[in-house]
C-alpha cells in the first residue's frame, strides 16, 4: 500500500555519496522523510527512494556536509502524466490512425478473380470498373447481384458468376462455358472505309456495286447484302468479300533544328508518394519539371492474383539547366521522316505494301525546324461491313 501511495505521489531514486550517511538518514527520519528501499552499494554510497516533496527538503540538510546527492531515476504518476503530456501528439496520432483504419475498412481494397480461363484479367477488370466495382469504392455502393447479371450479359462465355464482398475484399468467382461459338453477324452491306481506286473485286456473298479501275469515296456501297439464290429468289444476308484498292495515305513529321539539352546542376531532391486506390499522398516537396528531370521507382503491393491498390513510389528530381544546341538539317530531316512514317504506321500502313512514295521537305517559318510531308500509295482492302 505504501508503495502504491508513493507511486501515486511520485518518487525519485537518489544516490547519496559521502561520509556519515547513517547520521544523515537519522536526521531525515527525524524530519519525517519517507525513506524506502535503502541499498548500500559501497562504504560511502547508498541508494534511497524518496518522495518528490521530501527530495526538495533534502538539499538544505546537505549544506555543510560532505555528502553529495544525484537523481538516478524518477518514478510514479506525476512523471508518467508529464511524459504523456509531452507525447500527446503521438497519442493523438495513434487515435487518428485507428479511426483512419476504421474508415478505410468501409472501402473495397482488393478484388480477386477466380475461374477465368479465356477472359483476360484486364477485360474483366475494365468491365467491373464500368459496373462501379474498383479498388477504393465504398462497400455500401456495391450491388453484387447486378454485377453478376451484367457480367453474364456482357460475356456470353460465362456460365456462372458470383460476386461476394468479404470485408475489404471482393471475390469474383466465374465459370466459363465449353466451346462457345462466335456470334453470327446479321444482314448488312460492305462499304468503302476510305477513298481509293479499285483494283480487285472478290465477292463471296452479295452483289458487287463497283468494278476494277473505279474510283470510290469513303462510305460508297461496295457489296450489297441483297442477292438472288440459285432458285432466283431474292435474299438479304451479310455481304462478304474483298475489295482491294489503291489508297493514298499522308503522314507529316517535323524535326527541330534546335535542341535544348539538359545540363545537370548537381542539386538533387527526393520525394516519396503513397497511393491508396485513387488517392496519392505525397511525402515531401514537388519540383517543377521545367527545371528538373524526374525519375520514379514504384513498388506495388501484390498478394497473389489480387489487385492490391497500395503503391509506394520514390521520385528523384535532378535540377538541370537547358542549353541550346544546333542540329544539322540532315539529321532534322531524318527525324521528321521517321515521325512521318510513325504517323503513317499509326494509320495502319504497312511499309512493305507501299507501291509509291512522295516526299516533300519544307523549312518552318521560324527557321528552327523542317517538316516532311510523306504521301504513300498502298494496295488495301477498303471494305467495311456494316449491319442494318
Amino acid at each position: 500500500m505504501t508503495s502504491l501511495w508513493m507511486w501515486w505521489q511520485g518518487y525519485v531514486t537518489v544516490r547519496l555519496r559521502g561520509p556519515g550517511l547513517e547520521r544523515l538518514l537519522n536526521r531525515m527520519a527525524e524530519l519525517g522523510f519517507v525513506i524506502q528501499w535503502v541499498e548500500r552499494l559501497t562504504t560511502d554510497v547508498i541508494i534511497v527512494r524518496l518522495r518528490v516533496k521530501d527530495f526538495r527538503r533534502l538539499r538544505p540538510l546537505l549544506w555543510g556536509t560532505q555528502v553529495s546527492v544525484s537523481i538516478l531515476d524518477k518514478h510514479g504518476a506525476p512523471f508518467w502524466f508529464k511524459r504523456f503530456r509531452l507525447r500527446a501528439s503521438l497519442a493523438l496520432g495513434l487515435l487518428l490512425s485507428f479511426f483512419f483504419v476504421l474508415y478505410l475498412s468501409n472501402f473495397v481494397w482488393f478484388i480477386e478473380v477466380r475461374g477465368s480461363e479465356t477472359l483476360s484479367l484486364e477485360t474483366l477488370s475494365s468491365a467491373v470498373q464500368d459496373l462501379g466495382l474498383q479498388a477504393g469504392v465504398a462497400r455500401s455502393t456495391i450491388k453484387p447481384r447486378e454485377i453478376e447479371a451484367e457480367l453474364l450479359k456482357r460475356f456470353p462465355v460465362l456460365a456462372w458468376a458470383q460476386v461476394t464482398v468479404k470485408g475489404v475484399r471482393v471475390e469474383i468467382s466465374l465459370t466459363e462455358r465449353d466451346g462457345v461459338e462466335p456470334e453470327e453477324s446479321g444482314p448488312g452491306h460492305v462499304y468503302a472505309a476510305m477513298d481509293g481506286v479499285v483494283t480487285e473485286v472478290l465477292v463471296l456473298r452479295g452483289t458487287p456495286h463497283v468494278k476494277d479501275g473505279q474510283t470510290v469515296r469513303k462510305g460508297d456501297l461496295l457489296i450489297s447484302g441483297e442477292y438472288y439464290d440459285a432458285r432466283g429468289r431474292k435474299q438479304y444476308g451479310a455481304a462478304q468479300g474483298v475489295i482491294k484498292a489503291r489508297v493514298w495515305y499522308e503522314g507529316i513529321g517535323e524535326g527541330s533544328l534546335v535542341r535544348w539539352e539538359p545540363v545537370h546542376t548537381g542539386r538533387n531532391h527526393r520525394q516519396y508518394a503513397i497511393t491508396i486506390g485513387n488517392i496519392t499522398i505525397p511525402v515531401g516537396r514537388s519540383y517543377s519539371l521545367e527545371t528538373h528531370l524526374k525519375s520514379e521507382k514504384e513498388w506495388q503491393l501484390s498478394l497473389g492474383q489480387a489487385m492490391v491498390p497500395l503503391r509506394f513510389a520514390r521520385i528523384d528530381y535532378q535540377e538541370v539547366e537547358y542549353i541550346k544546341v544546333h542540329v544539322p538539317s540532315e539529321e532534322a530531316r531524318r527525324e521528321a521522316l521517321r515521325m512521318a512514317w510513325d504517323n503513317l504506321k499509326k494509320q495502319g500502313v504497312d511499309e512493305d505494301q507501299v507501291r509509291e512514295e512522295r516526299q516533300q521537305v519544307d523549312f518552318l517559318t521560324d527557321a528552327e525546324g523542317v517538316r516532311v510531308t510523306l504521301q504513300v500509295e498502298v494496295l488495301d482492302d477498303i471494305g467495311q461491313f456494316l449491319t442494318h
Binding site: 547513517e22 524506502q36 528501499w37 535503502v38 541499498e39 562504504t43
Partner: protein
Amino acid sequence: MRPARNQIIKKKLARTFDLPPAVLLDQATIHILGDAEAKIVNHKGLVQYTNTCIKARSNQGIIEVVGSDLEITSFSSSEIKISGTIREVMLK
C-alpha cells in the same frame, strides 16, 4: 541516577497495572519473520548500515542485526524494516 530511578518506578507501575512495558518504558521491540525480515520499532537512530550488519540505538543498548544481503526496506524515526538473510539479532 534519576533516569535509573524513573525506570524502576515505571517498571513497577507497568507490573502493577499490567500495562505493556514497551509503551511505558519506551523500550524497543524487535519483530522477526523467519530469517528474511526483521522490524525494529522504537529505535533511537541508525548507528551502522552495511550489507552484513545493521546497528540501531535503543534505550536498552545497541541492537545489532547480522546476516547477508541486508537491506533497509523502509526507514522512519520510529521504525526500521530490514530484509535479507538474517542470521543473528543481538542486544549489546
